[in-house]
């Protein structure tokens, strides 16, 4: 109960401040713009309700992109880490290209991916996965490095094969690292999905934000952002839940 109370109070206080500043027109005056361009939380809440079916429809599109892209990122991230853990050659050769890949601005390559894969869901999944797999790979690899060499020797005298050592010792040892990377990755999914939609799409919260911005409907932009945040918090909570179940010894 208390764990929820503190963040709720903080959010309520910030919303209250925002409400006061926006409703009185102080924020708009400060920016030197029209009052209607600075929506108050109450107006945003109203828009959330008014546009609920439109928001839900688009949220579902974006959520699917996030979930599938994230699932792909987990598979690829874990896969890369495994291969790099097992093979020193793979680790040494693929680390620099992977880092280089992370420095490519996602805004630049997403239009290219749209050209390659079309306007469907495929380029969105690819972009979300591209953004999210790297932290998973890096921290899972760090997790593998925490394997106690003495434990490996012990397993060898207990007649374990290389594959059994990997399954019964290395993978469980790497799980805390895997989850810390996964938690970082999961909060990137909405940003990545929105960028992907901006590069070319016909639906989704990112698509909606782009249109509403063009129409100066700032209240609905914020409403869409609120839905996006809720999705991210939900996914983060799911990952945390999975972590508690799997890394039960911490």
């Amino acid at each position: 109960m208390k764990r929820w109370l503190a963040p709720l109070l903080l959010i309520a206080a910030l919303l209250g401040l925002w409400q006061a500043a926006a409703a009185s027109g102080a924020l708009a005056d400060l920016f030197g713009i029209e009052d209607f361009l600075v929506p108050s939380p109450a107006e945003i809440a109203d828009t959330l309700w008014q546009s609920r079916s439109l928001l839900a429809e688009n949220a579902w599109v974006t959520l699917r992109e996030m979930l599938l892209g994230f699932a792909l990122a987990v598979a690829v991230g874990l896969g890369f880490a495994l291969v790099m853990h097992v093979s020193e050659f793979a680790r040494l050769s693929s680390y620099p290209p992977l880092v280089a890949l992370q420095t490519v601005p996602i805004l630049v390559i997403s239009p290219v991916l749209v050209i390659w894969f079309g306007f469907g869901i495929v380029p969105k999944i690819a972009i979300v996965a591209l953004v999210c797999f790297f932290p998973i790979t890096v921290s899972t690899l760090d997790g593998f490095r925490t394997v106690d060499p003495a434990a490996t020797k012990l397993m060898r005298t207990l007649s374990a094969s290389r594959a059994q050592i990997l399954r019964r010792l290395d993978l469980p040892s790497a799980m805390p690292g895997f989850f810390s990377g996964t938690k970082v990755a999961v909060v990137f999914t909405p940003i990545a999905a929105v960028f992907a939609e901006w590069a070319g799409s016909s639906a989704g919260l990112g698509h909606m934000i782009l249109q509403d911005n063009a129409q100066l409907d700032t209240a609905r932009v914020f409403a869409a952002v609120a839905v996006l945040s809720a999705l991210a918090i939900g996914l983060f909570a799911l990952v945390t839940l999975a972590e508690r179940r799997i890394v039960s010894w911490r």
Binding site: A150, L154, R156, L158, S159, A160, Q164, P172, W249
Partner: protein
């Protein structure tokens, strides 16, 4: 069961074992005592086939190659190294699992011995929920269930408090007489080595060589406290201590 002739080992220029002869019959217990860093753990890794000697011969049950020795030796590390993600039962059942037994069959094997090891009722407990003595017993059971003919114990009770250590020593002595195995016991505790072993090799500081070969008095008293306070036992312990100190080039502190 174990035989070493002119065994030598070095890491690059660092000579860890200069020349060592060891003999251990089946179901015997060999104690290895030496100062910290004298190469005791290296010696165990050599015996278990985790390392190859630089020179000399080393055979376990007739097998001289590292793979051959690895197949015949199980190792109980200094820290218990129980896996925190496994229950006590599943930790103990690791070797049968590695041997390809199903989870159910492997657990049956381990749980059959849980009572004898004083672990009944703790099958599903995680290692963090066990006391130090219990953790060592699970670790020992895990080594035992490997079914290997030679068990190498590296300071198995070093991490325990004095009272628990004494308890574990009498427990190991009775477990060994009930179900004899061939044991190599590395320790820096002279009393522990003499109490548990048939013969004790006292090693010099690095590079390790034998400075004394001793045996506790026979027959040993059933009760540990009686055994270690027996004047004959105390006398052997004195000789072992003197050998240790002389090899370290230091006079005994009175």
């Amino acid at each position: 069961m174990l035989s070493a002739r002119d065994l030598q080992h070095s890491y690059g220029d660092l000579v860890t074992i200069s020349s060592l002869d060891l003999d251990l019959p089946e179901h015997g217990v060999l104690g290895l005592v030496g100062p910290s860093g004298c190469g005791k753990s290296t010696l165990l890794e050599l015996i278990c086939g985790l390392l190859e000697p630089s020179a000399g011969s080393l055979a376990v049950d007739g097998a001289g190659s590292a793979t051959g020795r690895l197949e015949r030796c199980a190792f109980m590390p200094q820290r218990d190294l129980l896996f925190p993600w496994l229950s006590a039962l599943d930790n103990a059942a690791l070797a049968p699992r590695n041997a390809g037994l199903s989870l159910r069959r492997a657990r049956e094997r381990a749980s059959a011995l849980f009572g004898r090891f004083g672990l009944e009722g703790f099958e599903t407990a995680r290692p963090t929920q066990l006391s130090g003595g219990m953790r060592q017993r699970v670790a020992f059971l895990r080594t035992l269930l490997s079914g290997k003919p030679l068990l190498a114990l590296d300071e198995p009770f070093a991490s325990l408090d004095a009272i628990t250590r004494a308890e574990m020593q009498s427990w190991l002595a009775s477990a060994h007489s009930a179900d004899p195995r061939t044991l190599v016991l590395v320790t820096h505790d002279v009393e522990e080595a003499l109490y548990l072993s048939d013969r004790v090799v006292v090693l010099s500081p690095r590079p390790a060589r034998e400075v004394a070969l001793l045996a506790g008095p026979e027959p040993r008293a059933e009760d540990r406290d009686a055994a270690v306070t027996d004047p004959a036992f105390v006398a052997v312990r004195e000789r072992a201590m003197r050998a240790l100190h002389e090899s370290a080039g230091r006079e005994r502190v009175p």
